[in-house]
């Protein structure tokens, strides 16, 4: 979780009255259990959406009802959509009190040294006063540059035509069952538009606008980097994020226009009672560059495959991904790249760690189309198992439809080496520290992609997880 050093939270806490308006924003509104037309219409009404969005939701619902569950990946047979829908309302998390947050999550906050104010926001039981101010300042800066940086609901109201052009275009509602589900009930998320040639001078973080109480489980994020622009966007945080609902079916759509560059970095650490079925996809035009840095730590079961569709000549993508599967976790993750134009290039470095009986499954897909002459790609997946009860699998599918492509692939699956642990212990490190250090080294290529404070917290989290798994 990022903290702005120049901003002093003490100053704000002295006079809380200026934030009182927040507590008055109370949506007294309920949906009936189960997903049906009335529920979807109620969500749309409540958000005061234009007709096209309402229609999109209803169309999604129709598609959802016809789809079966995916026949690969994690077992989601006990997922009860009707129960989840009951919670899809803006003040769901405010209904939770600090006392209801599970004690292990509170303990983790203690160990991570997260300040009180942040804890409540992370646990979903309070608003984030400091981030609001930071957000307002950044928003002003961004407005000067012509950058639109808004929560999705506001964007739908304020820039309907722009949103409509891109909303669920990279990820059609017919893509899979949970894309349709998402289309019907999405709530929250970020809309980011960077105009031609604008290079955003600082990484933008979704966290800046985390005060929006509806954010979380069904977020829709759109990033549009217009020609020649550059932006870094960071979402999520490494501290465990407690949710009362147990499904995340978010969507991230990224449009990298000609010569633009987008980096999307995220660490997901949802609490371990959740299903995480997010869909993330980027469409990259000529000479555009899309970089994914994706860390999947939390949730009980995850299916996440950030995808880049390289449709313009010379488009590039780079993925660095880390998946962590601890006790009782089943993480099905991977990278998808579709190379559909000449001279495109892709580089995938996916790593997983499994510990304490966790199961990390890499499912990658690299498709080099017939038009992708001169394409270059390298895919590397590495899995590290920390004990004998944990599992790791890799299915790196590579499909090449042209003779003129340079494709490299490397896979390494292995257990942590006793000799390495012994070597580090001979230098005074306890067994758990030695293992943590090896794991930190293993995730380093990913950690390097993160802002410093995220990387530090990732390290702390790894130490904590390993300590608790070893006991």
């Amino acid at each position: 979780m990022s903290r702005d050093k120049e901003f002093n939270i003490e100053d704000l806490l002295i006079d809380q009255s200026k934030f009182d308006f927040k507590s008055q924003v109370k949506y007294a509104y309920k949906t009936i259990p189960g997903l049906n037309k009335q529920v979807v219409e109620a969500i749309s009404d409540q958000k005061q959406e234009p007709k096209w969005m309402r229609d999109l939701r209803l169309k999604s619902l129709e598609v959802f009802e016809t789809w079966r569950d995916p026949r690969f990946g994690v077992d989601i047979s006990d997922l009860d959509v009707s129960k989840i829908v009951a919670y899809i309302k803006p003040d769901a998390k405010k209904a939770t009190s600090w006392e209801e947050v599970p004690s292990e999550i509170k303990d983790t906050f203690d160990k991570l040294g997260i300040p009180e104010a942040e804890r409540k926001a992370l646990a979903g039981v309070g608003a984030q006063y400091d981030s609001e101010i930071v957000y307002q300042n950044i928003k002003k800066e961004m407005e000067k540059l012509g950058v639109i940086f808004l929560d999705m609901e506001s964007a739908v109201r304020e820039y309907p035509d722009l949103v409509k052009e891109y909303f669920m275009k990279a990820i059609p509602i017919t893509d899979h069952k949970y894309a349709a589900f998402h289309g019907a009930v999405w709530s929250g998320g970020t809309f980011l538009y960077v105009p031609k040639g604008v290079k955003v001078p600082l990484p933008l973080q979704a966290y800046f606008r985390m005060n929006n109480p509806g954010m979380g489980q069904m977020e829709h994020t759109i990033i549009i980097a217009d020609e020649g622009s550059e932006v870094v966007f960071i979402e999520g945080c490494s501290a465990p994020f407690y949710e009362i609902t147990n499904l995340h079916a978010g969507a991230v759509e990224i449009y990298v226009k000609k010569g633009a560059r987008v980096k999307y970095a995220t660490i997901q650490n949802w609490s371990k009672n959740t299903y995480n079925l997010n869909t993330k996809r980027a469409i990259v035009d000529e000479d555009g560059i899309m970089e994914w840095a994706s860390g999947s730590m939390g949730s009980e079961k995850s299916m996440i495959y950030p995808a880049s569709i390289l449709r313009g000549k010379g488009a590039k993508t780079e993925t660095k991904a880390i998946t962590y599967a601890g006790p009782k976790q089943h993480m099905d993750t991977g990278s998808k790249v579709f190379m559909l134009a000449p001279y495109t290039s892709a580089n995938v470095d996916a790593r997983s760690i499994s510990i304490g009986g966790g199961w990390a499954f890499y499912r990658g897909w690299l498709r080099v189309g017939g038009n992708a002459k001169g394409a270059k790609a390298s895919v590397s997946c590495q899995a590290l198992m920390l004990d004998n009860i944990s599992k790791s699998d890799t299915i790196p599918l590579i499909e090449v439809h042209t003779d003129d492509a340079d494709i490299g692939h490397e896979a390494r699956i292995g257990r942590i080496r006793e000799e390495q642990i012994y070597y580090l212990m001979s230098r005074g490190l306890k067994e758990s520290e030695a293992k943590a250090l090896i794991v930190r080294g293993f995730v380093e290529p990913f950690a390097k992609e993160l802002p410093l404070e995220y990387a530090i917290e990732l390290n702390r989290l790894i130490n904590l997880e390993i300590e608790s798994s070893i006991g």
């Binding site: 070597y423 001979s426 230098r427 005074g428 306890k430 080294g441 293993f442």
Partner: protein
């Protein structure tokens, strides 16, 4: 005076194989002493080093290892390290993603947990030691032993020894694979890192390093035990005649690899 290290009739086997690999080792090292342990390949010299350090691959079946008068048999490797034991590995492990500097500081903080030297101060020491070993400062920004040449790996071990300031240094073939210049630098550094309090067990095949690091005692180690102990001259004799003379003299079999 209590010995720094006392090994009493130590017997050990490889776990899972049940083959005895230390067959009654006796050795006393006092503070300030340098002991050379020489022997042919495959005689089990490295095993002795690893048993002293507590490598979980081996099980002690009888005998004892005392460090400053206390048995360390029940201590884990890291606990032994924190008492002041240090083993320089013949083949140090490569660990990607963690920089040498970070590793050194991490180890130092673990071993000298009561030390209140600042990070700046520690970094300064590390830089000085690095320079002394004729290593580029970039060396510290590289990952632990990763992609190091043979010589760099040995220097890395000596750098750790110099920085961590152990009471007992077991150096397992610190001289192997070094060219003559590197051998000189490593030896000179080793000498400068020595203190009067420190004990050294230098495991080697060759007499060469003993020209630089002069031993107080030379032990000949064959087939899992020390078969002969002498002064520096013993090493010179071995260099001339090889181990076969000793074999004949003692009527034992050496399995030269």
């Amino acid at each position: 005076m209590t010995a720094l290290l006392e090994i009493r009739d130590l017997r050990a086997e490889v776990i899972g194989e049940g083959v005895e690999i230390l067959k009654g080792v006796n050795l006393i090292i006092n503070k300030g002493e340098t002991h050379a342990l020489m022997g042919p390949n495959g005689s089990g010299k490295s095993t002795l080093a690893h048993v002293i350090m507590g490598n979980p691959k081996y099980r002690v079946t009888s005998g004892d290892i005392l460090f400053e008068g206390q048995s360390i048999l029940n201590l884990s490797t890291d606990e032994r390290a924190r008492l002041g034991l240090f083993l320089s590995f013949q083949i140090p492990e490569e660990i990607e993603g963690i920089k040498m500097r970070q590793f050194l500081i991490n180890s130092y903080r673990n071993i000298h947990s009561k030390d209140e030297r600042t990070l700046l101060d520690l970094n300064k020491s590390i830089s000085e030691l690095t320079q002394k070993l004729d290593l580029n400062q970039d060396f510290l920004e590289r990952y632990i032993n990763t992609g190091f040449s043979g010589g760099e790996k040995k220097k890395s071990e000596i750098l750790q020894m110099g920085f961590l300031k152990p009471k007992l240094c077991i150096l397992d073939e610190i001289d192997s694979g070094l060219d003559i210049d590197a051998l000189r630098i490593v030896s000179e550094s080793l000498n400068s890192f020595r203190t009067e309090e420190m004990g050294i067990l230098l495991i080697t095949h060759y007499q060469r390093i003993l020209n630089y690091v002069v031993p107080d005692f030379v032990h000949v180690y064959i087939d899992g035990r020390i078969v002969m102990t002498g002064k520096k001259e013993l090493a010179e004799q071995i260099e001339e005649t090889g181990y076969s003379i000793i074999e004949k003299e003692l009527g034992i079999n050496i399995n030269e690899e």
